[in-house]
């Protein structure tokens, strides 16, 4: 789960990491009030979870009240990676000479957390020159570890002592809050040599949330995502018109590819999970059936242990409630023929293979 910048910065504060003075606002009136109580210039920053908000025009630096409102209105109207900003962080500018980079993140290939730092940062960490990467032990790091990184970066003594404190705090935050990523980019070096985090990016390990109830209430929930998560489905909303339902993440992912290759656009990704019993199939189809934007439903189930007849019974239960959108299904596995008979005479179209079902769903056959 990714936190908004303002949430990440409030977490930073708990760990003794500073940030410029800022105020979170939800409308233009808030922008006026915030501007009045801060020292210009100020940054108007969209609060979105999508990446690349700077490039998308989601950040502006302003020095007058009317300019602040004007930019805020513009940013509120943006769609950044499909996301409309619901709030803005109005933050005092921090005059600085240089920008560094610092993060604690999971290196999947090395199967270890790593600390990554660069004395001269940039937007993309991948292309940063002179970056230093060190494996972080699961039990954490000490001042010697952090000082070693500072010296490898060639930081002067004044910066080095601050860097050590910041890295120790960031690593402790990442470890205690079980983050996949805790990142400061940029870490500004002020005119007087003070190190100041200007942006904060934190992604918490979803699977560790049961140990961190403090994060439970941080995100407003999309109605459909909330319902799907209560049912135990993996669900992602997409912008197309074909709702895609299947069992197993890889299988649904490959079904999205088949739909895309055939020229269709998926409205969602829904993975029922392992044992797809009748009631779960029914709940999933009911959910996607009322998804706005979805004009038809594609079901791709590889019944291993799942019985095809259970899937058919789940579909039938939805049909009996009325109002089912056109449904194209490929259900393989035990009792396939019996399942086909159960759905005969209904509006549901059954296919032997996934490509056939996909082609029909895309062409509205």
């Amino acid at each position: 789960m990714r936190l908004y910048e303002y949430q990440a910065k409030s977490l930073f504060k708990e760990y003794g990491l500073s940030a410029p003075k800022s105020i979170l606002v939800h409308d233009l009136e808030g922008v006026r009030g915030a501007f009045a109580s801060l020292t210009p210039p100020v940054a108007v920053k969209s609060q979105v979870l999508a990446g690349g908000r700077g490039k998308a025009g989601g950040i502006a630096l302003v020095d007058g009240a009317s300019k602040a409102e004007h930019e805020a209105a513009r940013i509120f109207a943006l769609s950044i990676g499909g996301e409309k900003p619901a709030s803005l962080l109005i933050e005092e500018g921090y005059p600085h000479d240089r920008e560094m980079y610092l993060s604690v993140t999971l290196d999947r290939g090395e199967r270890s957390f790593v600390a990554i730092a660069a004395a001269a940062g940039g937007v993309e960490v991948e292309s940063m020159k002179g970056k230093v990467i060190r494996k972080v032990p699961v039990e954490g790091i000490d001042a010697g570890f952090a000082a070693g990184m500072a010296s490898e970066l060639g930081l002067p003594p004044r910066e080095s002592s601050q860097f050590v404190k910041i890295l120790l705090s960031l690593e402790r935050l990442a470890r205690e809050k079980e983050c996949e990523l805790a990142e400061i980019n940029p870490l500004a070096v002020g005119k007087d040599g003070t190190l100041m985090p200007l942006d904060a990016k934190v992604i918490v390990d979803d699977n560790a949330l049961f140990r961190h109830p403090e994060f439970a209430k941080l995100h407003p929930e999309d109605e459909f995502e909330g319902e799907a998560s209560r049912q135990g489905f993996a669900f992602v909303r997409l912008d197309g018109d074909i709702a895609v339902v299947g069992n197993g993440a890889g299988l649904v992912l490959s079904t999205l590819d088949l739909v895309g290759d055939a020229g269709g656009d998926p409205a969602c990704f829904l993975d029922l999970g392992g044992g797809a019993q009748q009631d779960r199939v029914e709940a999933a189809i009911r959910l996607v059936n009322r998804l706005p934007g979805a004009s038809r439903i594609l079901v791709n189930i590889y019944g291993g242990i799942t019985r095809s007849t259970d899937v058919a019974a789940g579909i039938r239960a939805v049909i009996s409630g009325g109002g089912l959108k056109p449904l194209y299904a490929r259900v393989s596995g035990a009792e396939e023929e019996e399942a086909r008979r159960m759905l005969e005479g209904t509006a549901v179209k059954m296919y032997k293979t996934a490509p056939e079902a996909v082609a029909a769903a895309v062409k509205r056959a």
Partner: protein, 290 residues
């Protein structure tokens, strides 16, 4: 890494839970020698006639099992995994989904220190059809004995592709689901080394998906290794959006990191024949085997 042979004793952790019970039966039906179960506080019970003990240590002492299939819920998987590795389990198959990353890292480290192998978490397990040995939850009818080694980050795609291979006459020497999480107990590179070294294997099918750089690393490894057995690949998620977790915890693209295109390019450059769809895999296997 050593795989148990057909008939070797195997234990099941949390055998008395819903999935533990169901899959104990299905593994026994397939021919696996499920010799004991472990479940704290459930010692003295039995499932399908198999005795259950309170601890893995007891189950191991009674049966001499060196492999365990773990159905313990995510909150307790770290403790259960530590218990199994401390009790001398050498092959630990963790089916459980939603295990926290830091718990997985601790298990990987302990397994490395003990010289043990972990498969998973968040995986369907491993099956060796010729040995009638199934440590996991895969549906038996999709698999048949043969010469194609298959391993994958996805469960149902493993079944789908195994089913396609079986239907076209290509049985499997071994099939492994290595897990859909960002951290795998054993990696695609380790599995490639292992299956290339299996005498029975004539071709390898490796199935990946978006997220991370495991396939890119595998491609670099393939380029250096000089493997002789042909490799067929498939990568799911060419049309997946960025920054969204697609079902598996590990299936997420950040920026340009973890895209299907990057993986397909890397594998192709390493000489792997990459299928566009799962249905295309058997044709490429047939061509590769000439």
């Amino acid at each position: 890494m050593m795989l148990p042979r057909g008939g070797d004793p195997v234990i099941v952790q949390n055998m008395t839970g819903r999935y533990g019970r169901l899959h104990t039966k299905l593994m026994l039906d397939y021919g696996t020698n499920v010799a004991a179960g472990a479940a704290p506080g459930k010692g003295g019970q039995s499932v399908e006639g198999v005795p259950v003990y309170d601890t893995v240590a007891e189950a191991v002492a009674k049966t001499k099992a060196t492999a365990s299939v773990c159905f313990v819920p995510a909150e307790y998987t770290l403790a259960a995994g530590v218990e199994a590795l401390e009790a001398g389990i050498e092959l630990l198959v963790i089916i459980t989904e939603h295990v926290p990353i830091r718990d997985e890292l601790k298990l990987v480290q302990l397994a490395q220190a003990k010289g043990a192998t972990i498969i998973g978490p968040n995986c369907p397990g491993i099956i060796v059809p010729s040995e009638k040995m199934k440590l996991g939850i895969m549906p038996a009818p999709s698999f048949s004995p043969g010469k194609v080694a298959l391993y994958s980050r996805s469960g149902t795609l493993t079944y789908e592709i195994a089913g396609e291979l079986t239907a076209s006459g290509h049985g499997q020497s071994v099939a492994v689901g290595i897990g859909g999480d960002p951290i795998n107990g054993s990696t695609p590179i380790q599995w490639m080394d292992f299956v290339q070294g299996m005498e029975e294997t004539e071709a390898v099918v490796v199935v990946g998906e978006i997220g991370g750089d495991a396939e890119e690393r595998l491609a670099r490894h393939i380029e250096k290794s000089g493997y002789r057995k042909p490799i067929i690949g498939y990568i799911a998620g060419r049309h997946a959006p960025k920054e969204k977790k697609m079902g598996h915890a590990g299936a997420i693209i950040y920026g340009d990191y973890g895209t299907a295109d990057s993986k397909i390019r890397a594998l192709t450059a390493a000489g792997v024949r990459v299928a566009k769809t799962p249905m295309d895999v058997p044709r490429l296997v047939r061509e590769a085997l000439g």
